[in-house]
């Protein structure tokens, strides 16, 4: 049967069914589910960063109004299996044991100490206040520089060190002098600790049916199958008796991708009480106990020749991950991606990098959208800009001189990432045209004459999407790089579509429906997508690494092709035509001339009810499942570029964002509007990282940012309109040619702003080396530059 070309509704900006529900208040988020005789959980959390638990006295709490259970470590020990976040590919990585409630030691502010289950959340909180936890305080490890000092306390004594793991990669020798360099520039950037801060906090509702021994967990999560597999192991249940439902999710961005202690605890409480148990984190709990992200101190050296060629790049990433690696994926991915993606788009003969993960007495650092990418992009593009400034080259000139050549693909990066093709030259050309760089520079120069300080920053990035089974599977971690899709055509010819990929607002459901509709010659409205339920969908990855369309869409395409062939086989028999000459279009089976032979619904009806019309050996299956997994390469690598235009007030230190441009290569765009909105949303998260967002702790590990008035996320009035353009190049595998688009916005935004601010501050000789770029950061940089202006610096070091 002939392979179809991509046709409508692929490529159309179809609206989302979920959007209609949400805009009319009909969302079904986890906490919206009613439960009869339901109970509510509240947690007693550690008020200090490190200490020994002497006693937890729950007697008063147990006697209180509405309280059904109070659980400490002693009450649950033996009823679940503790876990360790390691990867078998890295046996040297330290993976301390993690418990649902700590047996003897607390390791960060906000760590759950005890769980109260009561008839309302308010009563549970009342009782939690009456639990007396006697904790002997110990010195906290809360500073990245001293964590490795010989006299530092050890967070995990059995690990022997606060160093979780150290890795090097690249093709050069770390720490060695660069050969072939006219100039070597060194610098260090500090990246703040973020959190994804979804508006819907972590929410869950567990119900246990002792009759069938089935545990149902409704939870705001990205990866229901992963959670099903992990909870089955931890709770000792068969995977087929655990159902994880993540229907509507109010924002996730990587934060809702792991296992948290509370997930295990609500299940244990539901199994113990035989009643539904609900937990919805309040915002303070969210800031204290959600996975945080980023926080890196990255030092780099760039070696250049006078002609503008970059000959060497070295990177040293110090990455403090908090008290434990996140489970099950570990916290290595972020640092690994910094190593992989730094300078990956440049043709550099000598690239070396080192990564050190440190334990700290702080909340865990895990995955946040665009894992590692914004750090890799910012350090690379900052160093490239510094080299350009030192050589007197325009930012675009040094990039053009060093981008991987368009005719050099396929190739591998020095860290072993396969690049099928990068469209960096085309993206840069388009970006400069979109922003009208000449006009912008002329305006900038004119305004400088009037004392107005504006800057233009460019940041190019390489991006890893649609990850396959290469790191987790062989590492002993049951995270699926494969995704599946089940299609069930009803006798009416309508389709129920059950993908393993999940949708937290990206529009994955709609994109998948468009793919299925395209293959089957149906309308989007003929396809009903049911995702986020581990009981009905094929086992798969869910939402991570921009796989929704690049992998999940591929599975849907294959399933739809199989269903199409089945329909054409039956139609061909019924109408004495060669199936290869038939096609499905607009709800009909048509012949090569386009003449309508019959309807799809008629064929479907016959497949269910009229076997008397068909030969005995003719298959009539209208339910199909197909899976897709990237095999030729671990990542679907792609690329993009961003530019920011900013104005810095040198009196107050405030940075105002005036314009932002993105050019991205997403391959085939299934739904252009949804792609662009993914990118814009990502950009604004990156702008928050650049200017506003930071989780702060004091020197004792006490959390200082506890409300949304302390942790600033961008408001509508903080950000400009963002122009998005596309460049389309092909993929190594897959029929659709779609690449991931979820990471791109975040990946380049903060680097572009950093470079823009430093461009604005250039005439003052000031350089900002810290994000978020707060007014204080800007003023400190300006003062430092003013102070050193009288005595010229000896060298180019920070």
């Amino acid at each position: 049967m002939s392979k179809q070309i991509l046709r409508a509704p692929i490529g159309q900006s179809a609206p989302r069914e979920r959007a209609r529900r949400f805009a009319t208040g009909r969302g079904r988020y986890t906490d919206d589910a009613a439960s009869l005789r339901g109970l509510h959980a509240a947690f007693v959390r550690s008020p200090i960063a490190r200490g020994d638990i002497l006693e937890i006295d729950c007697d008063a709490a147990r006697d209180m109004d509405g309280v059904v259970a109070v659980l400490t470590h002693a009450d649950i020990a033996g009823r679940y299996r503790p876990w360790r976040a390691g990867n078998a590919l890295l046996p040297e990585m330290k993976a301390p044991e993690q418990h649902a409630l700590p047996p003897s030691r607390v390791n960060y502010v906000g760590e759950p100490l005890a769980m109260v289950v009561a008839t309302s959340r308010a009563l549970a909180e009342d009782a939690a206040e009456q639990v007396f936890a006697d904790i002997d305080p110990l010195d906290a490890v809360a500073d990245i520089e001293t964590a490795l000092a010989p006299d530092s306390p050890l967070i995990h004594e059995d690990c022997g060190s606060n160093l979780c793991v150290s890795l090097t990669s690249g093709n050069g020798k770390f720490g060695a002098d660069f050969e072939d360099a006219d100039l070597v520039i060194e610098d260090t950037l500090d990246f703040g600790r973020h959190t994804a801060c979804p508006l819907e906090t972590r929410s869950m509702l567990a119900e246990y049916d002792p009759g069938s021994e089935v545990l149902t967990l409704r939870i705001s999560h990205q990866c229901p199958h992963q959670l099903q597999a992990e909870l089955a192991k931890i709770l000792g249940l068969g995977q087929h008796r655990l159902r994880v439902i993540s229907e509507d999710v109010g924002g996730a961005y990587g934060l809702k991708q792991q296992l948290y202690q509370e997930d295990v605890l609500v299940c244990l409480a539901a199994m113990q009480t035989g009643r539904p148990v609900r937990f919805v984190a309040d915002r303070l709990e969210a800031f204290a106990s959600d996975n945080h992200a980023r926080e890196h101190r990255v030092s780099a050296r760039i070696a250049v020749r006078k002609d503008g060629r970059i000959t060497g790049f070295e990177l040293d990433d110090l990455f403090p991950i908090g008290a434990y690696p996140q489970y099950p994926r570990t916290s290595l991915g972020e640092g690994n991606h910094v190593l992989r993606m730094s300078a990956a788009g440049y043709d550099i003969a000598d690239f070396r990098s080192r990564l050190r993960l440190l334990f700290q007495n702080k909340a865990l650092i895990g995955h946040y959208r665009s894992v590692g990418h914004p750090v890799a992009c910012a350090i690379t593009e900052h160093m490239v800009d510094r080299a350009a400034a030192a050589l007197g080259l325009a930012p675009e000139t040094i990039r053009l001189r060093n981008f991987l050549s368009d005719d050099s693909y396929p190739r591998e990066t020095p860290t072993g990432v396969h690049l099928h093709y990068l469209s960096q030259h085309a993206c840069l050309d388009r970006l400069l045209a979109d922003m009208d760089i000449a006009a912008l520079r002329s305006e900038q120069a004119k305004l400088r004459g009037q004392g107005i300080c504006r800057g233009i920053g460019i940041a190019s990035f390489v991006e890893l999407t649609g990850t396959g089974n290469g790191f987790y599977g062989p590492g002993g971690i049951d995270v699926s790089g494969q995704d599946g899709c089940t299609l069930k055509m009803e006798p009416s010819g309508h389709v129920r579509c059950m993908p393993s990929v999940t949708d937290q607002g990206q529009g994955t459901d709609t994109g998948i429906a468009q793919i299925v509709a395209s293959v089957l010659g149906l309308e989007v409205a003929d396809i009903r997508v049911l995702s986020g339920d581990s009981e009905i969908t094929p086992h798969g990855g869910g939402a991570w690494a921009s796989r929704g369309i690049s992998t999940g869409g591929e599975a849907a395409w294959q399933a739809a092709q199989t269903l199409r062939e089945q329909l054409l086989l039956v139609a061909g028999h019924l109408h004495q035509r060669d199936p290869a000459t038939l096609e499905l279009t607009e709800g009909h089976v048509v012949d090569a001339s386009g003449a309508q032979i019959t309807t799809i619904s008629e064929v479907a009806h016959i497949c269910y009810f009229r076997h008397d019309l068909l030969p005995d050996d003719m298959p009539t299956e209208l339910m199909v499942t197909r899976h897709a997994v990237p095999r030729a390469q671990l990542f679907q690598a792609t690329n993009g570029i961003q530019a920011a235009y900013v104005e810095v007030d040198t009196d107050t230190g405030f940075t105002r964002l005036l314009g932002h441009w993105v050019v991205h290569d997403g391959g085939t765009l299934i739904n252009p509007k949804l792609v662009e909105e993914q990118i814009r949303g990502g950009v604004v998260q990156g702008l928050g990282a650049a200017l506003l967002e930071e989780i702060r702790y004091d020197e004792d590990g006490q959390l200082l940012t506890a409300t949304m008035a302390d942790y600033l996320v961008p408001m509508a009035s903080d950000v400009p309109d963002i122009q998005v353009s596309h460049v389309t190049s092909g993929t190594a595998e897959g029929a659709l040619g779609a690449k991931g688009v979820g990471e791109a916005g975040v990946a380049g935004a903060s680097g572009a702003v950093l470079n823009a601010v430093n461009d604005a501050l250039g005439p003052f000789g000031a350089t900002v080396r810290q994000m978020p770029i707060s007014p204080r950061t800007v003023l400190t940089a300006l003062r430092a530059a003013a102070a050193s202006a009288t005595t010229p610096p000896f060298e180019d070091a920070p």
Binding site: G25, A122, L199, R283, G505, A709, V713
Partner: protein, 165 residues
Amino acid sequence: MSEPRQSVSLTVNEERHDVTVPNRKHLADILREDLGFTGVHVGCEHGVCGACTVRIDGAITRSCLVFGVQADGAEIETIEYLSAQSETRDLVDTFVAENALQCGFCTPGMVISAAALLAETPDPTREEVRAYLSGNYCRCTGYQAIVDAVMMTAAGRRAAKGERA
């Protein structure tokens, strides 16, 4: 000691409800848990994020900052009702068409605030839209599509008015 409770009478979406609730219970929680209006979303419980925005006696209000007992006798409108009214339906349709929402958690509050903006200022600039909606946080969209949807709704209403005139 049991929680102090009080009975309150709330008119929600034109329907009267008499409920007995703990004195300390927020209106947002009463609307969600006691009355089933789950389109009211609780994002921060301290009046910053705007997800719980409803209309109380015609004025947009954060229902997480109002105790139920304070709202005794009030007329309350939530997204379930407002999105179906002819005065707001065009705005809702445009939000959907422009994909001015992703996860949708902020959307009820955002739509209610945007409706109030358009009632006050039928011909806003993009900057005015951004300023007015700055009390409603959205973590997904980056806001541009929301601004687009509000501007397009305003333009559509002006065009419809012009046609009628």
